[in-house]
Amino acid sequence: MRILNDIGLLFIGIGMLFFISGTIGLLRFPDIYTRLHAMTKADNVGLGLLVLGLSCQADSWQTVARLIFIWILVLIASSASCHLVARSALQKNIQPWSRP
């Protein structure tokens, strides 16, 4: 069980890197669409790895099912909100940044 615990920590650690890169993207990318790319994808993968890591450490299958349920909820929520924000931005004629 000790090994499983360490593998879990490793997954959580990698997940943290994704969260950090999502935030960096949010600060660094030039327009709203590219920022949406960074936020949605990096954070969902980060949360996925976090859920995977915590599942390795969980003591009951019910906790694992709950963690996965939370991840799926966040996946649906963030892809839907991402689409809505991008669509409203297009309708408001916010032009995507493009390479000069």
């Binding site: 650690g13 935030t23 963030s78 909100s81 916010i94």
Partner: protein, 95 residues
């Protein structure tokens, strides 16, 4: 208590704090809202880490509520706040 989980939660808190800069900088309302969306995902992640780190499974329920509320907040923002402010602008131009 597992200190490593709490340390990870603190890293995420720093990620949120860095995201606050986007709220200051904007430039559009949606950029600011996206930082709030970051609070949603990172908030869920922090709750999950604390649930394990402080051994209180109740925090899992809070993570669930965060997950649902984050979606509601963004959808409400897009459907009400962002569009209606534009409509008010159009109405003012028309009158």
């Amino acid at each position: 208590m597992s200190f490593i989980h709490i340390a990870f939660a603190l890293i995420l808190l720093l990620a949120i704090a860095a995201g606050l800069f986007r709220i200051l900088a904007g430039p559009t309302a949606a950029d600011r809202m996206m930082a709030a969306q970051l609070f949603g995902t990172c908030g869920v992640a922090i709750m999950l880490l604390l649930a394990e780190g402080m051994e209180s499974p109740v925090l899992l329920d809070i993570a669930l509520v965060f997950a649902i509320l984050a979606a509601m907040a963004t959808i409400t923002f897009v459907r009400r706040a962002w569009h209606s402010s534009e409509n008010v602008g159009e109405m003012n131009e028309n009158t």
